[in-house]
């Protein structure tokens, strides 16, 4: 049943027990975004230093898809290079929009894979993307505010 493709155990698990839920006290990136069509909102707080995401947390309420996506995202990106984060966001976006994402498949990452079913539910893509969109915008604001090498692209890893 298509529905089971969407509501995979992993998602429901993250929804019930969200990881990194809360607000960082020492965040240097902070952004709140709303899904204009449903009112769901997310507050994302990150601590970025030396080009790495040192810590991250999310708050807000929403549906299974948006909450699970936020929870998984925080797990994945903690400790990751900012450039890599951007890459992953792009891969995730491709995954939930098209169902195809070579890069994700190659990683055999079950947590990300679990979102592949979203592509069958185009109205829910926005839910899956909310946390990631917030993340990207937050990083962009941060970059503008702190235009040092951190935010640039020393490794060339970012496309």
């Amino acid at each position: 049943m298509a529905l089971d493709q969407l509501y995979q155990e992993i998602l429901l698990d993250h929804y019930k027990q969200p990881r990194n839920k809360g607000v960082l006290d020492d965040a240097n990136v902070r952004l709140e975004l709303k899904n204009p069509f449903c009112g769901d909102e997310i507050l994302l707080t990150l601590r970025v230093a030396d080009g790495f995401v040192e810590d991250v947390a999310f708050a807000g309420s929403g549906c299974v898809i948006s909450q699970a996506s936020a929870s998984v995202m925080t797990e994945k990106i903690k400790g990751m290079r900012v450039a890599q984060v951007r890459e992953m966001a792009e891969q995730f976006s491709e995954l939930v929009k098209t169902g195809h994402a070579e890069a994700v498949s190659a990683q055999e990452d079950d947590d990300l894979e679990a979102f592949r079913g979203v592509c069958e539910f185009p109205t829910r893509v926005k839910c899956a993307m909310l946390a990631w969109r917030t993340l990207l915008q937050g990083l962009e604001h941060h970059e503008h505010a702190h235009p040092h090498p951190v935010a640039s692209n020393p490794s060339g890893a970012q496309k």
Partner: protein, 405 residues
């Protein structure tokens, strides 16, 4: 109850919608073939730019357009066709009142009164008006059954507000406001009243004269009419005070290098080429509703709503929002911890289309303390069976999500 209407609506016979239970008419209704045919006939026989041509084709187009205006006037019992301005939708109509009337009449420091029940379309224009004019926006709250606090209204009216904007029927809670009484009280206090009829005109007999509305707005697409056509009713007593909002072709009487004069009402409010086919389609929708009779429509909706409320109440862990009695054909609810989006997706898999979200009424959501609700709304093509399928679907959803949520 009305029966057999479903077959008049081609959308329900489309292969993709064979089993569709459409419970989102409060967002937009479906159209009977007759409305579609009326537009087709216009395009295929009588299409021209109205008001502008000396040839017969243009005259036919003009007659269609102005006949539609007269039909709308009769439908809501306006005193004259000139009181009917065609707009894109109810939203634009409210904005026209804000820019065309209120900007010229509301003074800095004056109070503008709205209610917590309002759809964003009858709220944000007043927020922005208050900002532009330095006016003060105040609210009438609703109580835990979704009824306006009329005691609070009386208090507010003592502050002599300039304008009161309120909806006749809430699209988020299903509250039916006693607009005639409210307007009578407001008029005693010298307050001009704007009524949002987007959710009332489709479902009940509306008489703008007997309710004494100063301005009244609604959308064609929620009452079986086409998209892209709405109505602003402006009582004649405000015509001199109503200024054009959009400028351009057809709304002028003469143009010079640095000065222009306006056409008469209602044309001064209709700039550029209008959606004539939309007006024609709306007239056909009014004919359709008229033949059924608005009393019969209201009765049908009422029967469905009563049945739905009865059945919903029986569901375990259901939260029903809005009034317990005298409920319009739109029901907001939540079930346990299931998020309305997840519920909507689940039901959609069973061919049941409900809305989920804030329904463009975020103040209502705030007040209820939720981010979103699920919403089922009914119209004349819905059946008791549709309601039963909704209930079955909700039971199944509880089972599906129950183990997790």
């Amino acid at each position: 109850m009305l029966t057999d209407l479903r077959k008049e609506f081609p959308l329900f016979s489309a292969a993709a919608n064979r089993d569709l239970v459409y419970l989102d008419s409060a967002a937009t209704a479906q159209r009977p073939q007759r409305v579609i045919t009326a537009m087709n006939d216009f395009y295929a026989q009588d299409n021209a730019n109205p008001h502008r041509g000396a040839y017969r084709l243009a005259e036919r187009a003009t007659q269609h357009y102005e006949a539609a205006r007269a039909k709308v006037a009769a439908f809501i019992h306006a005193a004259a066709a000139e009181e009917i301005i065609f707009t894109r939708n109810a939203t634009e109509a409210v904005n026209f009142i804000a820019y065309g009337w209120a900007d010229h009449h509301v003074q800095p420091g004056e109070v503008i009164l709205v209610t917590e029940l309002e759809h964003h379309s009858n709220l944000v224009p007043w927020q922005m008006l208050a900002q532009r004019r330095g006016a003060i926006l105040k609210y009438i709250e609703f109580d835990d059954q979704g009824h306006l606090r009329l005691d609070q209204m009386e208090e507010r009216l003592r502050e002599r507000p300039r304008l009161l904007a309120l909806t006749q029927v809430s699209n988020a809670l299903g509250t039916i406001n006693p607009v005639a009484e409210i307007i009578a009280r407001a008029h005693e206090a010298g307050v001009v009243v704007v009524v949002d009829g987007a959710q009332s005109v489709p479902h009940m007999r509306v008489d703008v004269q007997s309710m004494q509305a100063d301005f009244f707005v609604f959308s064609g697409h929620k009452m079986l009419g086409p998209l892209g056509i709405g109505v602003l009713y402006a009582n004649q007593r405000h015509h001199a005070g109503l200024q054009p909002v959009l400028y351009g072709g057809d709304m002028i009487s003469s143009v010079d290098y640095h000065h222009s004069d306006w056409n008469d009402m209602p044309w001064k409010m209709e700039a550029g080429t209008q959606h004539v086919a939309g007006a024609v389609g709306l007239a056909a929708a009014i004919d359709f509703l008229g033949e059924i009779g608005m009393e019969a429509v209201a009765e049908h909706d009422h029967t469905l709503t009563r049945h739905a409320l009865e059945q919903l109440q029986k569901l375990d862990r259901i939260i029903l929002y809005g009034p317990r009695e005298n409920h319009a054909a739109v029901i907001s609810f939540n079930i346990g911890a299931i998020h309305p989006h997840d519920l909507a997706t689940f039901l959609d898999q069973r061919g049941i289309a409900i809305r989920s979200g804030h329904h463009c009424a975020q103040l209502v959501m705030r007040k209820l303390g939720v981010a979103a609700t699920a919403r089922a709304s009914f119209y004349l093509y819905n059946t008791l069976e549709d309601v039963d399928r909704l209930i079955d679907g909700l039971n199944a959803a509880k089972e599906y999500f129950g183990k997790w949520l």
